[in-house]
């Protein structure tokens, strides 16, 4: 996980300006905003619209189309579990039921302590060694419930991570 910055209009404007020159710059800008702030803040929408000579509605439509973009930051950690066929063939469905049960969340849900948001993903390209997952930026293959538990523990414990 990253430490996200609090929304700051000047910083937001810098990010927008820095990329506005690209052809069709919407996605690069939205990615950059989300990388900085953990989401695409509502106040950034008019900024993006203005920089790209688009309407605010168009930017809103764009943000809501793509599953990656959020209007609010996710939990500290995002666990993406692959639900696609290759992982299903390797027993992903049972794993997912177990993981969701253990964490006590539905798909897209965040754990009670606000620590983890679980999201489905359709294919990480790790299809030969399923089930696969992605914990924040870290890909995982041949995932087991025990392995996930350990990884989640390690995430918040630098000693374990090291």
């Amino acid at each position: 996980m990253a430490d996200y910055e609090d929304w700051d209009a000047a910083r937001g404007q810098d990010i927008v300006n820095g990329l506005a020159g690209l052809e069709g710059a919407t996605l690069p800008i939205l990615h950059a905003l989300q990388a900085a702030f953990g989401c695409v803040p509502r106040d950034a929408v008019p900024m993006v619209a203005d920089a790209l000579n688009m309407s605010r509605a168009e930017v809103h439509g764009c943000i809501t189309f793509y599953h990656d973009f959020r209007a609010e930051p996710a939990a500290r950690h995002v666990l993406k579990l692959c639900r696609a066929e290759a992982c299903q063939a390797a027993g992903a469905d049972a794993l997912h039921r177990q993981v969701l049960d253990e964490l006590g969340v539905p798909w897209h849900g965040t754990t009670a302590d606000g620590g983890i948001t679980v999201e489905p993903v359709f294919c990480l390209g790790l299809c030969a060694c399923g089930p696969s997952a992605m914990l924040d930026e870290a890909p995982m293959a041949r995932v087991t419930a025990a392995g996930l538990r350990a990884a989640l523990r390690a995430r918040d414990d630098p000693r374990v991570a090291a």
Partner: protein, 947 residues
């Protein structure tokens, strides 16, 4: 009478010299290249089912109802997105296609409320029609699946409701907002099954939506529906008429239940609007039946008396006797009249006829005096005709568009949409305006050059452009040699080449960077078809006429007159300001712009009118007011104009009105001028009469009566009755007879008649034997005056100067939701968008005066002062402030001065030196206004009136 339903070809009409021939369901049909299979099928008489396709929008291909089979092609392509090709063999109906279409409808209906009988669109729903067309008999999915039935309604827009539960995600509204209106206020939020139309992350009222109604018009279901239709149900008959707002002259269908307007919908075959509309014409018609309407004639002895309701006869006889008395006592020239640019051509014609033949003088003027009189003057001098050169469609061929002193997206929105469409298609844009108007930069529109000049320096900027064109060898020499007076050209070219006009030399004066002027001039001269569109930011200056001539010079020098895509195009303010001028409303001109001193013309009129017309010009409005203050001008007949609010220097106007003995006001409402009137004649709205309006492109459109006059008489009948009371006989039974008289007396109107207009929809004058269907583009082979005349246009700074006491320049204008003095729009829900006039001030100027957003500030000029709320905005440059004049209580014209155009006396509304300071009270004038609202508008109770 029945409801008018236009045929929908599904995809836009294509124009091509090439045709393709194909076979559809066994029938051969030839269509222009680029026509879709869907539209070709309709040409062949076959209507292919469709939902996402409509001919105002580019094909989209989403609903999948219009699938067809084409021999030799795989699958079932959508007929809307498939262009017709030579030799194609298309089948639009067979069992396979029928099954597919039923399958699509089954899916639609599985996610749609089953409330047809109680739905506002019942009877006017394409989804319903299509269910019928495909023979949908059951929805095997049932209705228990995932759906949107419980989606919330958005009722924030005052005029229409968005009911997401009924949305079929055809995107027609989104596309209409983009393609037709050009605002891009709508999108689809989410994706897949969750896709829903959304005005961004907000509701409709809080969004970028300008409420033009294009989305409502495009919606095939009840998702976007007029609230009036929800309230009253479907209309049962409709009549095509013409909007009474701006000079675009949109055609509308007044859709009625009996005498009630259920809704106004833009008419697809409207020559000016081609099916588009704006928030005013589309929705803001409620004023016409507003409770403030005065429907009884009234008189009073003095303005402090309460009004007394009287019979028409009493009112008219009283007016006639007063006018007789004044002329007897103070001379024939002591009275005059003002025609209305909101009334019909026929009505304006009658008023000027009444003045000239009935009053026996030429003291007639019209509100064009205060808006586009310089256009008439400047274009007549240079080209020979007092009107714009092009039709609106011409903009589709423009490569470079120069907008000077106009804000079309606010003031001429329907034309602006057309212009923006052309800009999105690649035309280049130059904006010359002190303000950062929307056209400078708004979604998908960006001006190549914005010349943010200092108000009052139009001529200097245009001369600098001329300098660049002349000195950089950009003159279209062949054109000039062939079409223009060469000697005049050469002296102009010498003038323009003088170094004092170089962009660098005028940079300090105009505030425009020299490089921008050079860039703009080069683009204008070399970018292909270049067209100039302008508004009151050109005319309402002490050099208004000079500016018009300077633009004409540029157009001639670069060969940009006389074909599609070019020209000098005034965007005229009021619905019939072109027409009122055409009809002889100016004191020096008879109908058709013929000078009163022309003996032959006068003799012709005298013969028909039985008059003895005067050969000298009469008084202009401002002269009338001046002479009134002097005591020489004593009475006036004002039809549908509110000079006490709209004319400059309110103090002076009121002083003049107060000095008169008989002020007759004919209007829908007790307006500002009526506060100073002695006789009030109730007017009739555009819905209550027949007639014609002439728009900014010289297009004569029919106005058709849809309800009886609320006061019993239409305006033309009132003028006729007044004339008869005065003893000058008029006897018309229908406005068409008036037009017949106009046509008989006016060569440019010779071919115009109501019959012709009803047949062809509209014509653009000149319309006569030489051009029986009218003249979209003027000066094609030669200028009307023969050769084009270049004029030397020296820049003369206005006498209105800033200084230590008044360091800022005020410029005024209007906004989208409101119209002129607000008499109409403020009596509609449009007031929600503009509850008050505000003063736009640059944050820099605000900061140095300790002003923050929303502060009440005192705006003071040499003429007076008013208090307004401040709005900090970077749309104005430092040193310039801006406000609107829609609310009478603001008193914007208390501030403006009496300076005016040298040639026409068009007031210099656009330049007033002012100071702005924080205040905590209203101005004295505004306090007085509040008092007068009561004191000068009292109407005696009916019993008292009878007594």
């Amino acid at each position: 009478m029945s409801l008018i339903k236009e045929l929908d070809y599904g995809t836009p009409i294509r124009v091509s010299e090439q045709t393709v021939t194909l076979t559809i369901d066994g029938q051969s049909v030839s269509v222009p290249l680029g026509t879709s299979v869907m539209a070709a099928a309709l040409h062949a008489g076959t209507q292919i089912p469709k939902l996402c396709a409509t001919d105002s929008l580019e094909p989209f291909g989403s609903c999948r109802l219009c699938l067809v089979e084409i021999e030799g092609r795989r699958g079932t392509p959508a007929s809307c997105t498939t262009p017709a090709e030579n030799g194609m063999v298309v089948h639009t109906q067979n069992d396979r296609l029928a099954k597919l279409r039923r399958g699509v409808m089954e899916l639609y209906i599985s996610d749609h409320p089953l409330d047809c009988l109680t739905c506002a669109a019942n009877g006017d729903c394409e989804l319903q029609d299509m269910a019928g067309a495909v023979g949908l008999r059951e929805v095997r999915y049932g209705y228990g699946g995932d759906n949107h039935i419980h989606s919330a309604k958005d009722e924030s827009n005052p005029y229409f409701t968005y009911d997401a539960s009924k949305c079929i995600v055809c995107n027609r509204c989104v596309r209409a907002c983009e393609e037709v209106q050009g605002t891009f206020a709508l999108t689809i939020a989410g994706r897949g099954f969750e896709s829903r139309v959304a005005p961004g992350n907000t509701d409709f009222f809080g969004s970028e939506c300008v409420s033009c109604g294009a989305c409502v018009q495009a919606c095939p279901t009840a998702t976007l529906t007029e609230k009036t239709v929800i309230d009253h149900g479907q209309p049962e008959h409709s009549t095509v008429t013409t909007c009474a707002y701006c000079g675009v002259g949109c055609s509308f269908k007044a859709e009625m239940q009996g005498n009630r307007v259920v809704r106004m919908t833009p008419y697809k075959h409207g020559g000016a609007n081609a099916g588009h509309s704006c928030v005013k014409g589309r929705f803001a018609y409620g004023y016409a039946t507003h409770k403030d309407r005065i429907t009884k004639p009234m008189v009073r002895a003095k303005i402090t008396d309460p009004w007394r309701e009287v019979s028409w006869q009493e009112a008219l006889e009283h007016a006639a006797s007063e006018f007789h008395r004044l002329q007897a006592a103070f001379g024939v020239d002591s009275i005059g009249g003002i025609t209305s640019s909101r009334c019909t051509n026929e009505e304006a014609y009658l008023v000027q006829k009444l003045v000239r033949a009935g009053f026996g003088n030429n003291n007639v003027d019209t509100c064009a005096r205060v808006c586009h009189s310089p256009t008439g003057y400047g274009l007549k001098v240079t080209f020979g005709t007092s009107a714009g050169t092009q039709d609106f469609a011409s903009v589709d061929q423009a490569d470079v568009i120069m907008v000077i002193g106009a804000n079309p997206t606010d003031a001429h929105p329907v034309f602006a949409s057309r212009m923006k469409r052309r800009l999105r298609a690649g035309a280049k844009l130059i904006v010359v305006d002190p303000r950062h108007i929307d056209l400078v930069r708004s979604p998908h529109i960006k001006a190549q050059h914005h010349l943010p000049l200092r108000p009052g320096t139009n001529v200097a900027v245009l001369n600098a452009m001329a300098h660049v064109i002349v000195t950089e060898g950009l003159v279209a020499e062949d054109y000039v040699r062939a079409r223009c007076d060469l000697a005049e050209f050469e002296s102009w070219a010498r003038f323009a080449a003088d170094p004092r006009h170089a962009p660098e030399a005028v940079e300090a004066q105009t505030g425009v960077p020299a490089a921008e002027i050079r860039g703009a001039a080069r683009l204008y001269a070399t970018g292909g078809n270049a067209a100039i569109y302008y508004g009151l930011g050109v005319t309402e200056h002490s050099q208004g006429s000079t500016t018009v001539m300077a633009m004409a010079n540029l157009a001639m020098a670069t060969g940009n007159i006389g074909r599609e895509g070019v020209g000098i195009n005034p965007l005229r303010g009021q619905n019939n300001v072109q027409g009122s001028c055409d009809m002889g409303s100016f004191p020096h001109e008879l109908p058709g712009y013929r000078h009163v001193s022309d003996d032959a013309t006068r003799e012709m009129f005298d013969a028909v009118w039985g008059s003895k017309l005067r050969p000298e010009p009469g008084l202009r409005i401002n002269n009338m007011l001046d002479e009134a203050v002097e005591g020489r001008f004593r009475g006036i007949y004002i039809q549908g104009e509110d000079i006490a609010q709209s004319d400059p220097n309110t103090h002076h106007v009121i002083a003049a009105l107060e000095a008169m003995e008989c002020v007759v006001v004919q209007d829908l409402f007790l307006n500002e001028t009526a506060k100073y009137a002695h006789i009030f004649l109730p007017g009739s709205s555009f819905l209550e009469k027949d007639g014609t309006f002439t728009n900014a492109e010289r297009r004569i459109n029919l106005v058709r009566q849809v309800m009886p006059p609320m006061a019993g008489l239409a305006d033309w009948e009132t003028t006729m009755a007044l004339s008869n009371a005065l003893g000058y006989r008029m006897n018309y039974t229908h406005p068409s007879e008036i037009m017949d008289e106009i046509a008989a007396l006016t060569p440019t109107f010779a071919g115009v008649s109501f019959k012709r207009l009803a047949e062809v929809g509209s014509v653009q004058w000149p319309c006569n034997d030489a051009a029986p269907l009218g003249t979209p583009v003027m000066h094609v082979d030669r200028f009307v005056r023969g050769t084009g005349k270049f004029m030397i246009t020296e820049y003369v700074a206005t006498e209105e100067r800033t200084g230590p006491r008044f360091p800022l320049l005020l410029t005024t204008g209007r906004i989208l939701s409101q119209y002129n003095v607000g008499a109409q729009t403020l009596r509609t829900e449009n007031i929600k968008w503009h509850p008050q006039d505000v003063l736009e001030i640059h944050p820099f100027d605000a900061e140095s005066r300790g002003i923050v957003e929303g502060d009440l500030v005192m705006l003071a000029s040499r003429s007076g002062e008013i208090a307004l709320a401040a709005h900090l905005s970077e749309r104005v440059q430092p040193g310039v402030v801006y406000t609107t004049f829609h609310h009478a209580k603001s008193g914007t014209n208390v501030i403006t001065t009496e300076f005016s155009d040298w040639a026409t006396n068009c007031p210099e509304y656009k330049v007033t030196a002012v100071q702005v300071r924080p205040t905590n009270r209203l101005a004295d004038w505004q306090e007085q206004f509040a008092d007068n609202e009561v004191a000068l508008k009292r109407i005696a109770p009916r019993a008292a009136a009878a007594a």
